[in-house]
Subunit: 293 residues, 2 copies
């Protein structure tokens, strides 16, 4: 079994994959590293990985836009979620006085925005494909520092100049585990799946989460209220609602909704049928066990 | 009168400011440039500008997170919105064969993600504070190219190697014009203003927009539905709803809601009172004329 993640070695995505492997007590698993989130995501569609694990939201910086877009565009199914505590460190080969350039993934730079502005107002900031990629580069030049994990420091033999530099101490990233959808993307849109992901009998609602994407036309301003009404009527708890531009025009959005429950439950099935009657586009991205630390 | 924008010269923010100046037929206006969005935003709070104009959302890449966060944290009022067509170009001093590094604002890099991956998979990507800052830097070294506007090319004497390189041809950014709030932030939260922004009499609902921020506790999953119900009951059109992490814990959000109408309208005033009764935190960020191209 191959799990695809954002690489190189020492990334937070790798940590998420290790958590997932432990939880599922998997052995003989290989981790395959990809150079950006898109490649790691698409690996599962292209058959280069059996499972891909990618970040979807961070508690400081919010959604990972590229993951949301790819979820809509590709035939994948979410089979799990993993929450990883993020502890960004400032890493370098030399001392802090030599730092001229600070490297990290754009999310890493954004999560440490206040820190960077206060302590390194003159430093040049460079985006890399991942935090561990930043660490690998910082291992080559003394004037470069990276924002990355303590694990990345170890991997690339860097000093931890400062630990926990993100703007809020509490910093978590939620990752999703994906597999290729059994059905083609065209079929997956507009159809309610039959709960084939193996829902255990008699489980409580909150043990599972389901993720869907709905498109609400700009000209139907009450549509979101109607959709939420379908959940409220059946007392289904929403855990997340996020909008993402349709990219057709400004003011036109897709809504990404996560809620408690499994598509195999009769109540959820009925709710999804109700929603389907209210929107032209409903994509069910999967039902999966809610993460418990 | 001083208008604060993200600089240096040649930024899309400057273009937004010029559109605003033309619309309002202002003269004797000075444009003051700031090195990042946060500084441009805070200028109006710190009295360094009378109006600040900052980006809030893009039709490809979505919300500008830092602007949303600052709107919540500071005592400001939105007094207008401006939509600017974005036409990113690849700019450099030399020819395309010399390019090793590509610079832009993170939003510029994200909006051209597919282009960069296809044509410059080996190039190093660097974040700058603005697209025009990227253009200024690219004017110094032949191996650097910038993603920025045609105006920036002119400003920094760069060649336009390729025009319109963003991943979707239609690319728009919405900017907001801000002034310091008359009331202190503490007062502004939890209170309904009295429509002092000069709402013309007999204007139609859709001529104005109002922006609010509400905090909905994680443990009250039906709260968003109730809030949207207050709008639906009074047939008020929502133009945007966006969530942003509260930064307290994963799964805890503020909702940013834009809708048609002015706080000076009786119907809007009643709706806001209704919403106030359903949430502990309601911040009214302003009523302003909806942008017409």
């Amino acid at each position: 079994m191959i799990i695809g993640v954002l690489g190189p070695e020492g990334s937070y995505s790798e940590k998420a994959a290790q958590t997932w492997i432990l939880k599922h007590r998997l052995d003989s698993v290989g981790i395959q590293y990809f150079s950006d989130i898109e490649d790691a995501f698409l690996a599962v569609v292209q058959g280069k990985s059996d499972i891909s694990i990618v970040p979807i939201e961070n508690s400081i910086e919010g959604s990972v836009g590229v993951t949301l877009d790819l979820l809509l565009e590709n035939g994948v199914e979410i089979v799990g979620e993993i929450v990883v505590k993020i502890e960004h460190c400032l890493l370098s080969k030399g001392g802090p006085e030599k730092i001229k350039v600070i490297l990290s993934h754009p999310q890493g730079l954004a999560q440490c925005r206040h820190f960077l502005k206060k302590y390194f107002p003159e430093a040049e900031l460079r985006s890399t494909g991942s935090t561990s990629h930043a660490a690998r580069l910082a291992g080559e030049f003394e004037e470069m520092a990276a924002i990355a994990s303590p694990e990345a420091a170890e991997c690339y033999r860097l000093k931890v100049l400062l630990p926990n530099i993100q703007d809020r101490k509490e910093n978590y990233t939620r990752f999703i585990a994906l597999r290729a959808a059994g059905k083609s993307p065209a079929e997956q849109v507009l159809c309610v799946p039959d709960g084939e992901t193996g829902k255990p009998e008699n489980s409580s609602h909150s043990a599972f989460k389901t993720s869907i994407i709905v498109y609400l036309e700009k000209d139907r301003p009450g549509a979101l209220y109607e959709i939420l009404g379908a959940f409220a009527k059946n007392k289904i708890n929403l855990t997340r609602i996020e909008s993402r531009p349709s990219k057709k025009e400004l003011g036109d959005y897709y809504f990404y909704i996560d809620f408690e429950g499994h598509t195999g439950d009769v109540l959820i099935e009925e709710t999804l049928k109700d929603i389907k009657s209210k929107t032209d586009t409903l994509k069910i991205v999967g039902s999966y066990p809610a993460f418990k630390a």
